[in-house]
């Protein structure tokens, strides 16, 4: 699904250049649930941004579902993001003046799906995350865990190839974190490919594979026995 070869990325900071990713080789199969771990400055967010086509790579190659991702203009990147990727952010990033359902329907809007179908799909995904009754509520009326579940429903609504989650539990307490992880695991069980950036070991243990980043290189890449979040809920 994801194929990365010899990925380099550096940022210019004034006259200095900061080499963040120093040759990453990494691939993800369909249906995997991968945790990308590392302390701050390890390059895990940069990697996720490149995977999410929010940032460009300097060197190396990145293939997503067989499509080479290189030298995209903004419009093309937007179309690919819409088609291939779903995003979940630490701070949810729901649009505060749109109801839960409208938030979920937004990626479908950019896919030019009709209004009726959009609402039906949005309701379907809200139902999957257990928030069908909250469809008409604004994000300000939802708890943190509920917001993240709406965000997950939104990321899923476009039926992406890969779900990218950047610290999805970073702003949540442990109990809610486990609920969210339970949801992510269930989505993964349905065969969806998910990448999670996290620095919490217990969250990483709930994935099927952990990739450790340190100083821009992969320190360790191992498959693990998944801990089911439902045990803690």
């Amino acid at each position: 699904m994801i194929e990365i070869k010899n990925l380099h990325k550096s940022y210019k900071m004034g006259s200095n250049s900061l080499h963040v990713l120093k040759g990453i080789n990494f691939s993800v199969e369909e249906g995997e649930l991968v945790a990308i771990m590392g302390s701050s400055g390890s390059g895990k967010s940069t990697l996720l941004n490149i995977l999410g086509m929010l940032d460009e790579l300097d060197e190396g190659s990145y293939d997503l579902d067989g499509v080479p991702i290189k030298n995209l203009n903004e419009t093309k990147a937007a179309n690919y993001r819409n088609k291939f990727l779903g995003f979940v952010f630490q701070s949810f990033n729901l649009i505060n003046y749109k109801s839960a359902m409208e938030n979920v329907a937004l990626p479908l809007y950019y896919q030019r799906v009709g209004r009726k179908e959009r609402q039906e799909k949005a309701l379907k995904y809200l139902d999957q995350v257990g928030l069908k009754e909250w469809a008409e509520h604004l994000p300000s009326e939802l708890s943190g865990g509920q917001k993240q579940r709406v965000a997950i429903a939104r990321a899923m609504a476009a039926e992406p190839k890969v779900l990218l989650a950047d610290e999805p539990t970073g702003a949540l307490d442990s109990k809610t974190s486990y609920e969210v992880m339970d949801l992510i695991q269930k989505i993964n069980d349905q065969g969806n490919t998910i990448l999670i950036v996290t620095h919490e070991p217990d969250i990483a243990d709930m994935c099927k594979r952990i990739v450790h980043l340190k100083d821009g290189i992969i320190l360790e890449d191992k498959k693990i026995k998944q801990v089911r979040a439902s045990e803690y809920v």
């Binding site: 941004n49 999410g52 929010l54 940032d55 903004e74 419009t75 937007a78 179309n79 993001r81 819409n82 088609k83 995003f87 952010f89 630490q90 701070s91 990033n93 729901l94 649009i95 505060n96 003046y97 749109k98 409208e102 937004l106 990626p107 809007y109 950019y110 896919q111 030019r112 209004r115 939104r154 476009a158």
Partner: protein
């Protein structure tokens, strides 16, 4: 252009502006005020224009008066200070010699020829009053339109030929001498020592008028017989043809009079004159200037309002950095984001514009209702449709252009920067 007609686009825009109510209202007020000022000013200028038009409609626009004064230069053996006079034969002289003249109405005012012009004591039954009295020819109505009440008429040719003792009275004369439900037509009133039959009541024309509502008109020939004024004339009302230069005609007439009366050719004081065409032209220049100024001021105000919209949208783009970043991450292309902001700008401008036009029209009609019965040159204040459409087009164009600034700002935000955790 597809996105403009896409109902989804409008749902997005409508969602965004209806969920940010305060911002929307403040933004709208800026442009609304601008277009309101524009409509109110342009409409008022038009109303004033119409008012002037109406005021001048009662008289021939290219008309003038000429009256005798006294000489200020010695000439041809005469001393300075010689009193001039006008006589009926001057009328035919002018008519014969000056082609541009269409009508000449000689008038005599009671008292001219005597020591003073003075009102005449008039009696009807128990009631009486003092009113101005004029000897007139029918042609006078060609120059100054007279509205005659139902059933009445102005002096006609037969009145002149037979020197009939008929009289046209003013509205106020009727009110003061007659009972409310009394028909004045056919009644007799005593003017001075002589009884006249009333043949008409003239209504005071709104706007420019040569006469007051207390003036009375009798046939010129009757007047000259009664007061023994011969062919003496108080002044001449002259109307030139529509397409001639009235100022030149005025000069020609005075020059002609000077030469026939043996006055020094450069003696400007011998005959006085007043040129209505010139005065009218000046008024119309003023009205035009006013219209022009109102357009400039209005458009400048609209511009200020639209800039206000741009300003607020710029702030709102900054506020919505994260939202726009999310939209980009969810697959919005840069042009979709740009269109969203620009269309928001145009939409707000249009809403504000239409509201402003409605409000402006309301205020204009209110002013119209208030000034209807007031003696003020202000009639039917309207804004021509091309002006309104022009303003709308200007607003849409400006709204688009000004919207492009925040839209460009929105597009230049990278989704990654927008989403970076603070």
């Amino acid at each position: 252009m597809r996105f403009i007609f896409d109902s989804n686009t409008w749902q997005e825009i409508f969602g965004s502006i209806s969920k940010n109510k305060t911002r929307t209202v403040i933004t709208v007020i800026g442009v609304l005020w601008g277009i309101f000022i524009y409509i109110a000013l342009a409409g008022s200028a038009q109303g004033l224009n119409n008012g002037f038009d109406k005021a001048f409609k009662t008289v021939a626009m290219n008309s003038m008066f000429v009256w005798p004064q006294s000489t200020s230069m010695p000439h041809d053996g005469f001393k300075t200070g010689r009193q001039m006079d006008l006589r009926l034969n001057d009328v035919s002289t002018i008519q014969n010699r000056i082609q541009e003249v269409q009508y000449i109405a000689p008038r005599i005012r009671q008292g001219d020829g005597g020591p003073n012009s003075e009102p005449v004591y008039t009696v009807k039954g128990q009631k009486s009053g003092n009113y101005g009295l004029y000897g007139d020819y029918p042609v006078y109505t060609k120059i100054a339109t007279k509205k005659i009440y139902d059933g009445g008429r102005f002096i006609n040719e037969e009145d002149i030929e037979q020197a009939r003792k008929v009289i046209v009275i003013g509205e106020r004369v009727q009110q003061e001498l007659f009972e409310k439900d009394e028909d004045p037509i056919g009644a007799y009133i005593r003017v001075g020592t002589v009884y006249f039959q009333v043949v008409g009541v003239h209504k005071l024309a709104n706007g420019v008028s040569f006469d007051s509502d207390s003036d009375m008109f009798i046939p010129f020939t009757t007047h000259r017989k009664l007061y023994n004024t011969g062919d003496l004339v108080s002044y001449l009302c002259i109307a030139a043809y529509d397409d001639v230069d009235v100022v030149k005609v005025e000069k020609d007439i005075k020059a002609l009079l000077r030469s026939t009366k043996r006055v020094h050719p450069d003696d400007e004081r011998a005959f006085g004159s007043f040129n209505l065409g010139e005065a009218f032209g000046r008024t119309m220049d003023f009205a035009f200037g006013l219209t022009f100024m109102s357009l400039i001021v209005g458009i400048a105000t609209i511009l200020a309002g639209v800039i206000g919209i741009g300003n607020i949208l710029l702030i709102s783009v900054k506020e919505r950095t994260k939202e726009l970043g999310v939209r980009r991450a969810l697959g919005a292309t840069p042009s979709e984001v740009r269109n969203l902001i620009v269309l928001e700008s145009v939409f707000l401008t249009l809403i504000a514009g239409v509201l402003g036009i409605i409000l402006g029209a309301g205020v204009l009609s209110a002013i119209n209702a208030f000034t209807k019965d007031v003696d003020f040159p202000y009639t039917n204040p309207t804004v021509p449709i091309p002006y309104v459409l022009g303003a709308l087009v200007i607003m849409v164009v400006l709204g688009t252009l000004i919207g492009l600034i925040p839209a460009q700002r929105a597009v230049s935000i990278k989704p990654i920067d927008a989403l970076r955790e603070e």
